[in-house]
Symmetry: D2
């Protein structure tokens, strides 16, 4: 389901299986040659590739979309062959069938615009997620108008006293559903450091400001008070360091002196949902690779 | 419900009634003075005003948001007083309680992203519409996942042979619901000239291209074929002259050579829904005044 | 020279004189009526008006573009008549002939992209400034390729020890040239608190970040380090509180992980020059009214 | 000078020579492997690579930035080695030292904002062009304020009767200067079909509209008459089919009903110069590959 011309030439027939390979390793000559040679030997056809040479850390990052004949080498064989190349270069790597929906837990509080938006994009086949659970700290009737279509809904209210227990429940759900991604779709509770660590690299939050401006609570009111002329939203990986996680996507919209805090909140909803949807899509298409406290995003 | 600081100073109390006045007339000195004086005499407090002096046609356009004491002059008295001023200047004018939801018929074909979006914005109180009917040329089950919340749904399929009859039904619905606005939310049937004329100034269509580029059918495929680097969408009043109606709002998004027609359609959905939602909002807030084949949009 | 339809109906003939009136006062009913009535009585024709009702402070702001017959009331008469209205409402007000170029001092350090841009816009008549002096802390040959066209150039180098003396020289120049506006066009020296106070409301700086993100030195390097996905620039009034002055205009551009700090600096130049040029234009057209630590910008 | 991390790892030392390879060929498995293997064998280190698989035409496009040791294989050896790979796959290919300024002829008419902008970017080292000639159909004094810094200036006025002769002169200049690129920087004369053909793929025009809207003359006046809400500019390769050449870059800006044609022209200047500058930069960095009547732009 990746966009931007990355499907195998004729994705209607079933003669080929497609994969997305992502990798990173210390940079040195020959990486691209080794990978592309290995894929060629395995019958692979490269439909798209992106790479980035991080000059500070001398780390090389790559994303390759390729296909093999359906009756060709099996997944296991691919793994073994790629492991050999990886060993030579000290690569961290990951191989994913393409397309395969990302098993996703969506967490939400009272404002449901991001939840509604993600579910709609999922329903029409735009977003390659498989929502395996929705976790809310508000009861089901808060979202009465949403057709959850059988997705498990978990009402997990939380207080300071019950946070530990509630997070344990969340962790259970993530584990039991074999979720690959947790999306904080305007979930307004702060995760504990332990939880954040445990979800590292697989938990995306939407913050309703253009970070690093207006960290913390009520960012639209902060923006109103400061008198900025643009407001924004930021999708980032969750880390224990609140609002400091690696940024995946941001966008902004113009405001004026005449916009009240309520106007900012209204305009913000539009920014939040499109920024979060893009971040989730990039994740499902293996376009995002964490790089310390930053990200590589192999944007289409 | 108008944004951008236009509510009366304390819109929580009920001591004042708020109105939106829009007017146009041949330009000559004294119009603003006459209007503001009349409102002042009536106990009115102007919360916001916008004006435009069209230099080609010498037509003056104005929009005034004002309030009067709740126990002050009645609506009828306002009408009479304003009619007097209007007569002196040859004004076309309109007065509307503020806020009062706009009775709206939404028409839709197979793609429901704009419908879903408008209903969501209505439900959370962002958009001051009151959906009085949904008319579709596909059956209810096409939109099975949408909670219509009691809004009347009319399945009115149409063929070349039945168009006249179908449009008569639509006209009946518009009349019976006393709809003030008809939104073609990706309704893919062309209205007859008669129907377009009858709905003049109160029917908004979303065209999925950046007009005047790519008129007609399959605009995203046209855009793909031409190799443009941005695609867009256009909300406009419907007129008999297809895709030539007065433009209310437009927006664009960047694409690349790597985007397939399907990618364009996907990106286009996001543009379409935000452009249409803005146009509808401007209409409900009396911000849009047709001006021949163009529009005045007193943008917030 | 104001854009957006604000010239008198026929600005080619010389039958009318045009003015821009800006005012602010505690809000109460009747202000618009009083102003428009007074102007009407004086033979004035309102070509454009904008107003804003600041709900927190209950301050009302207004900008009116109007014209009077060339052989009508003299400037002095206007002043007296407006002073009468102003007294009734406790208005702060200002009246300016329209168009009249704003006498402007431009200050610059090594990077001259904003200077070059402002001078170009001035030369082709786009920007209604009259550059009365250029002050640089680098010598004339740094800008050897720029045709200053007779504008006085002052080389005022500065060290910690000579700052006071240098600022006194700057103040002399501002005073002697009767400058109405001082533009810090990438002038990389921090003005003293006294200087900032003295220039309050008439000194615009361009900061090379999207404030309030990345205050202080080397903002593009800060942005690179943080891994943001958009960078920006901010034009603001200078105040003693560095990078906290009232914001006039901001804009952003998209960046990616692949952009080096040098790429950010390059993209930033484009943002800086357009943001600063817009802010200066708004100032020359009396569109900017300081409002505490925020601004009203009656944007066209 | 290419941005976005594509310089060799340590571009300050002179131990390596850098090149940009662009190629296209019918798509089949093994292309990337063959190229990357060949480069590896030659001692090459790939700093960046981008590829695109055009699914309609089954043409594969690639751009590779790589370096070889300064004391390694000579340019001639590279050519021979690459020619061998190219022959196997039927490649069209091109190899260019990186960075090497693009020898550029700039053509201009009365409006010089794009000329001034390109020269400024060149002067500060932002744009890797070497302006070898400026050709104008207005005399030198039209551009009196521009420091041409020794660039040859050719005043070549043109009438219907002298067009053939004038174009012959232009062709001579292009040939004698060994220009690689001709930029029509608001050159308002239409090139003959023969001239357009002769310059195919190396002549970039800036059209002052968002094509395909508003082809032909006075596009801003067309846009004003139509009442669009955004205006744009388009940089495209020149072809005999006027305003139909392959599009390289486009951008837009928001306008309102209040903008006069003069306001559109003013806003348009900003769009034009940034769109043209980007297109020229992409060209100089070998990011643009014509693909029939479209382009591949390996955008950073």
């Amino acid at each position: 389901m990746p966009g931007n011309g990355e499907m195998m030439p004729d994705h209607k027939n079933h003669d080929r299986r497609s994969y997305i390979l992502t990798l990173s390793c210390p940079n040195r000559p020959g990486i691209v040659a080794a990978i592309s040679h290995a894929l060629f030997e395995l019958g692979g056809d490269i439909a798209g590739a992106q790479q980035f040479d991080e000059r500070e850390s001398r780390i090389f990052f790559m994303r390759v979309v390729f296909s093999v004949p359906a009756d060709g080498i099996a997944r296991g064989g691919l793994d073994v062959a790629l492991a050999q190349v990886a060993a030579r270069f000290g690569m961290k790597w990951s191989l994913r069938e393409n397309p395969r929906p990302t098993r996703t837990v969506i967490m939400v509080s009272r404002f449901d615009h991001c939840l509604v938006d993600l579910l709609y994009r999922w329903r029409i086949g735009e977003l390659a997620i498989e929502p395996v659970a929705i976790i809310a700290n508000h009861p089901r009737q808060t979202y009465a108008h949403i057709d959850l279509d059988g997705i498990a809904f978990h009402y997990l209210p939380v207080t300071a006293a019950t946070r530990g227990e509630q997070e344990a429940r969340i962790a259970d759900i993530v584990r039991e559903t074999e979720a690959e991604l947790v999306v904080l779709a305007r979930y307004m509770q702060i995760l504990s450091d332990g939880m954040s660590e445990w979800l590292a690299g697989r938990c995306i939050n939407i913050h309703h400001s253009f970070l690093p401006g207006f960290k913390g609570a009520r960012p639209y009111h902060q923006a109103f008070a400061r008198g900025v002329k643009l407001i924004g939203a930021t999708a980032h990986f969750v880390t224990p360091d609140l609002d400091e996680g690696p940024i995946i996507e941001q966008d902004v919209e113009r405001i004026t002196h005449a916009d009240s805090p309520d106007d900012l909140i209204r305009k913000g909803r539009d920014i939040e949902r499109r920024v979060l949807a893009r971040a989730v899509r990039y994740f499902t298409e293996c376009r995002v690779i964490p790089n310390g406290h930053k990200t590589i995003v192999f944007n289409p």
